[in-house]
């Protein structure tokens, strides 16, 4: 079976289709002519995402060809993309006027 799935050419993350170990080499199909080789920098649990290129702080993260949030640290190719480096700005009032409630 395929190890990972890229949903759209615009995406900068791919989804693991099973638990993947650090160091695993993944060939991600960008389009019909281009394959990108990604070596995982950490373990990726099934259904979780990893970066298929370097993503800079404040860059948008794309899945399904659409933005799913913004990177709040630099994310290196092959890294796990999760709540420690990706966040949404939708429905967020905790960021306004210094108010912050830690319910996560």
């Amino acid at each position: 079976m395929k190890k990972a799935l890229l949903l759209n050419k615009k995406d900068n993350v791919a989804t693991a289709l099973k638990d993947l170990k650090k160091g695993t080499k993944i060939l991600v199909n960008m389009d019909k002519t281009k394959l990108v080789e990604v070596i995982l920098k950490e373990d990726i649990p099934m259904a979780h995402k990893f970066a298929i290129c370097d993503i800079n702080q404040k860059d948008k993260v794309y899945k399904y060809g659409e933005t799913i949030g913004v990177a709040f640290t630099d994310i290196k190719i092959g890294s796990w993309v999760y709540v420690h480096n990706l966040e949404s700005n939708r429905g967020r009032r905790d960021k306004i006027k210094g108010r912050r409630c830690k319910n996560v």
């Binding site: 799935l5 659409e66 429905g91 108010r99 319910n103």
Partner: protein, 384 residues
């Protein structure tokens, strides 16, 4: 043409189950209803804590939901029990249910718990004698409203279960069916895509309006929507943001145009795909769609969830092969084979379509076998 058979109601609608329903008008009548249920175990009780101390749009919404359950074609006959002094009177529900026999009792008029239970048992017993022999009549999918739901999602939902359901929904809509997409919260971040599919400018505007309103409701709480949306389980399952969840969720709705946007608990006025404005809370959302007349629910999950519904069968589909194995007593369809690369989205989509026909024709779903009858009415005002 797919042959389906249903119970014809007085208004020309068709039910695919033949439930006898007790609606407590308020929490004060719930115990009496449950005691009747203990004698007559097949009767369905809407176990809810509301009906009093409510005003304005909030009380109207609760009344609309209780009435909507009574009107749902899957219900053959209704007994409404009230205390006698609550905000939502038994008559205000009964007067709006004209497509089937309705009886009312109030505990104060009957003379307390024991007398009300005895009278209730007698009424329900007569209903069973009348409706247990009702024959089903051939009908077609244009008489069916399907509610779409997801709960306990993970990142497989958007890759496997929801796209497969979307394929089935397109087939159902092509056959004349009405399908309700709900969970406005789970359109946040995907509203631009779904709004594009509005049949006209009004529908496009309505979609954006309900999403904006829902996001504002979250913002009014002055904290982070994460923790509720996505939930901790969603996040553990690989969904990091509400946008990511929403972009997966909307796959349930297939590719059909959106015909209208309807308020919580209202019945669709159009055939085809419609959107109901509900919260992302799965039980509140399903409850709204049942009140809107949904005779069947297709429910996707990733983490696995056992919930059912009081009056309509719920078909559970998971995209997570692990959840299908560990919770096989709760899940009807395994879309996890898509993740494993063993089946295509279209194959599982066709299977869901065929399962829908079977369940309409009285095949029991897993949650029906296990007796799951959860419900939750969405509140929009304070208790006074």
């Amino acid at each position: 043409m797919y042959k389906i058979y249903g119970y014809l109601r007085k208004d020309g609608s068709y039910g695919f189950r033949n439930h006898i329903l007790i609606i407590p008008a308020s929490i004060c009548a719930v115990h009496v209803a449950m005691q009747i249920n203990s004698v007559l175990p097949n009767v369905v009780v809407l176990n809810h804590p509301y009906g009093c101390g409510q005003i304005g749009a909030d009380v109207e919404q609760t009344r609309r939901v209780l009435t909507g359950f009574g009107l749902n074609p899957n219900v053959a006959a209704v007994l409404i029990i009230g205390l006698g002094c609550e905000t939502i009177t038994v008559d205000s529900i009964a007067n709006s249910i004209k497509n089937k026999p309705v009886a009312t009792l109030t505990i104060q008029k009957c003379g307390g718990t024991i007398n009300t239970i005895n009278k209730g048992i007698s009424i329900i017993n007569d209903y069973y004698e009348k409706f247990s022999t009702q024959e089903r009549i051939e009908t077609d999918l244009s008489r069916v409203i399907v509610g779409l739901e997801c709960g306990g999602s993970d990142a497989t939902s958007g890759l496997a279960a929801n796209p497969a359901v979307g394929f089935a929904v397109d087939l159902l809509v092509k056959e004349g069916c009405t399908a309700i997409l709900s969970e406005t919260t789970e359109l946040i971040g995907a509203e631009h895509l779904i709004a594009k599919r509005g049949i006209n400018q009004q529908v496009k505007r309505d979609i954006l309006k309900i999403v904006h309103k829902m996001e504002n409701k979250a913002m009014k709480m002055k904290c982070d929507i994460r923790g509720a949306q996505p939930s901790p389980g969603n996040m553990k399952g690989g969904i990091t943001t509400i946008e990511e969840k929403s972009l997966g969720c909307i796959h349930k709705a297939g590719k059909s145009p959106v015909m209208e946007v309807i308020p919580y608990g209202n019945s669709p006025t159009q055939k085809g795909l419609v959107i109901m404005d509900t919260p992302g809370h799965d039980m509140e959302s399903v409850t709204g769609m049942l009140a809107g007349g949904a005779q069947i629910i297709i429910f996707t999950t990733g983490r696995g969830t056992p919930t059912g519904s009081p009056i309509s069968p719920v078909i559970k589909v998971t995209g997570n092969p692990h959840a299908f194995t560990t919770m096989s007593c709760n899940i009807d369809i395994n879309a996890g084979e898509i993740i494993l690369g063993e089946k295509k989205v279209e194959e599982i989509g066709k299977l869901i379509f065929e399962e829908t026909i079977k369940v309409l024709n009285r095949k029991l779903t897993k949650s029906e076998i296990l007796g799951h009858r959860e419900m939750a009415i969405n509140r929009i005002g304070p208790t006074l």
